[in-house]
Symmetry: C2
Subunit: 213 residues, 2 copies
Amino acid sequence: MSQDLLSPPARKGDRTAARIRDAALELFSRLGFERVMMGEIAAAAGVSQATLHYHFQDKSQLWRAAMLQLRAVVAEEERLLEAATDASALTQLRMAMRLFLAISWKHPALGRIVALEGMAGGERLDWLDAHLIGPRNRRLAQLAQAAIDAGDLKPFPAAQLVITLQAAGAGLINLTPMMRATFGIDTAAPDVREAHERMILDALLGGFLTHPN
Amino acid sequence: MSQDLLSPPARKGDRTAARIRDAALELFSRLGFERVMMGEIAAAAGVSQATLHYHFQDKSQLWRAAMLQLRAVVAEEERLLEAATDASALTQLRMAMRLFLAISWKHPALGRIVALEGMAGGERLDWLDAHLIGPRNRRLAQLAQAAIDAGDLKPFPAAQLVITLQAAGAGLINLTPMMRATFGIDTAAPDVREAHERMILDALLGGFLTHPN
DNA sequence: GATATTTCTGATTTCTAAGTCAGGAAATCC
DNA sequence: GGATTTCCTGACTTAGAAATCAGAAATATC
């Protein structure tokens, strides 16, 4: 989350701003933009509410700053995929799904934000589409299309296929509070996580293969 | 949505209350509780804001009333499943998934509400769990477990399996605004819907089968 | 270690949305 | 068709959260 673990952040204000961003990201992603009050963020970051306005113009700007944190996460995924462009489309897609799951566990904020804003539409979704999720998803859809063209995947519409796989992958993680309420299951438990991984990568992705191993 | 198409609703107030409930359900499910303003609901229902308070005590009560609309939908699903308790667990589960998809297209509010509140937790989730989604999901998990015990499904944790299938099934529908923003796809189009149906029922559910046909 | 700059805060203002209420209009009843 | 109840509304109050600001505290600079 912090931008650089090595350099002892130049100015004090930068560290405070980072704490605020982190707290904001956690809250915004769990609850959505309007459920979160500036006072909560301030409390979580251990500063006064006025300090939020010292570092960030207003609530919207703080939200954007928090989202930009997530871009680094996505960029890392890009980088890893980039290193494997000579593998088959199916292999790349499978790797992308594996990365997606790893990221979803490590940064559940991403999936929750997409779910929240992707359902609601509006200017925040437009911003996210432009800066965070649009390019990434279009790229994945291209990969899926290539895998279909190669005869490796069943010929479903590529965009739908990718989004559905992601929805399945992030669902359990996003719905952690519901899993607790309904089943008393703690999704953070290692066995839950391990079963989920197999479920998505083997069973679900396997269902799309034209010739399963 | 309206409670009874035959009887010309006894009192005028009942019809107005129903219009308000419908408008509230649509807005709450798309945007979540706090993103929706009472004024919006009033405008959508074509009444003044004060009228909302004449029919419903406050915003929370209106939300609950809107959610109770959904219970009728779930009850109908129950009824259909009830009529088939002598079929194999797998057959029942497949039927349940088919119903789930049909309902999700017809009443997208249900899936969106579950996603919104299931992510956030809190008192509204507790209410939903008790009145709407808990019993249903536990029942489906039992079905899945039975299908696993019968050797028809791969032995994944039943609760996770059910929730993941639902997440996959509702994902595309919930994310309609995102599909438009990122891919320009209108999920209401018949071909999108048809492909989705096959994707979930054949490919994804197929991936869980121990001996696919 | 005195000065200048940055960072932070309590108190206050502004804004927005929920909720109330008295009274007028419409429906219902006889 | 007049009386009575139900229904609805415009104008208002209240509550709460965002945003501002003057100045105090901390930090950096020399």
